[in-house]
């Protein structure tokens, strides 16, 4: 690695990196917030079918201002458009899609992820309630659970952990993680660092990570950064 200027990955680039791994024909579910940026990626000749918890299959870009349909929102309650071939299910059938294994990939946000594939995204410390939405169903039902999250908290605490400290959303399900410092797979040996943010060394990333990282022998600079 050459020593270039340190540059954390921006959110769109993080999501692009996951999006470019989507395969032609996949059904994808994007969590509210950062993961939604995956829908901005230019999939070119790959045909991705976006599905949302409220029963919408085959939605397209956000509706232009003034052209929103009052009865057409995605799971983040954003007014969206439909692609030709779209369809609508009720909520029970929509979660048949989700729990039944018809979702090829879900990209979710998270507070924490552990080296055993556990993650936490529904409840923060000191609060009685939480917000689950469809995350627990997606986490156990989707064929692949990928996360997009900042590598550290605002206070600098690591989010890639040995074990989650917050209440988990699901156990042993995450297979890929993108952060502003790199792209990681979760393997039986834990986090495998595959791509790294420009200017950072694996040691620097390890420093900001609680879990022990395995460094890919094939480590590359973060693609698209």
């Amino acid at each position: 690695m050459t020593t270039t200027e340190k540059k954390r990955i921006d959110r769109q680039t993080m999501c692009n990196r996951l999006a470019m791994e989507f395969e032609d024909g996949w059904v994808a579910n994007l969590g509210v917030g950062m993961p939604t940026l995956c829908s901005n990626y230019e999939y070119a000749d790959k045909d991705i079918v976006f599905q949302s918890e409220n029963g919408l299959i085959g939605y397209g870009p956000l509706a232009a201002k003034g052209e929103e349909h009052p009865n057409l929102v995605n799971a983040g309650v954003q007014y969206v458009t439909m692609k030709p071939g779209a369809s609508i299910l009720h909520h029970a059938d929509s979660f048949t899609v989700i729990r039944g294994g018809y979702v090829d990939v879900t990209v979710l946000g998270a507070y924490e992820v552990a080296e055993n594939g556990d993650f936490a995204n529904w409840k923060t410390l000191g609060r009685k309630g939480g917000g689950i939405g469809g995350a627990m169903d997606l986490a156990v039902g989707a064929k692949r659970v990928w996360l997009a999250l900042e590598h550290t908290t605002r206070d600098g605490h690591p989010r890639l952990l040995n074990r989650c400290k917050l209440p988990v959303t699901a156990v042993n399900v995450v297979s890929r993680v993108v952060t502003d410092l790199g792209l990681f797979d979760i393997t039986p040996d834990g986090f495998l660092l595959r791509e790294i943010a420009p200017g950072f060394t694996p040691e620097e990333v390890q420093e900001l990570t609680e879990a022990k990282l395995t460094i890919s022998p094939d480590l590359k600079e973060f693609y698209g950064a």
């Binding site: 299910l89 009720h90 909520h91 309630g129 169903d137 699901a170």
Partner: protein
Amino acid sequence: MKNKVLSTFDEAVADIPDGASIMVGGFGPPGLPQNLLAALIRQGATDLTIITNRGDQTNAKANTGHLVELRRVKKVCCAFSASPHPSQRNLFEELNESGELEAELMPQGTLVERMRAAAAGIGAFYTRASVGTELAEHKETRVIDGKEYVLEYPLPADYAFIRAHTSDTYGNLQYELTQRNFNPIMAMAAKCTLVEIEGDIVELGGMDPNQVHTPGIFVDRVVKIPPPPEGLWTLPSDRRA
């Protein structure tokens, strides 16, 4: 077939007693029965159990959150019992924390599947959602085919409040796009289903039998939403404003 059309929302909700359990449809504004909720707020029933996707909404005048603000809700079954960020902490959450209100939180798929179980005469079912989480801590689990599942029970209700696009006089319903969401399942799961209609209420025979989303046998009372300001309509521009 019986004519189920009433002329006012006040009539439709008049008999709802204190202590009733009410499913409230909608996912975001689409399918949210604002007019039925407004009528219930006027009607005064209290000590209510509300079953709805988000328990954490308190800003709208015709939302379940307003019933919470009026201290007329004893329990909420939902998939969101706290706002996404602590900075958005609201009264619902405070009442939940202080114990003045009980919030039963569950995965969204479990929420709707429990409703469906109530509708379909299913006594209980096993789902993988929530396995290994604190929500499953005191629940029965079972390993089936090598995977762990949690046992969940039906979630019925006395009433369902839903919103649809078109109806006939028997209460056969069609929803428009994502207005559908929880609404067809709630109609099946509740003992008494009340519907507000955005579009037309047509005569018997005026709806293609192939294209009925909720058959009228699941529907009890139908009211057409009047034009604003009397009728409540949420348009995208309201939300963007």
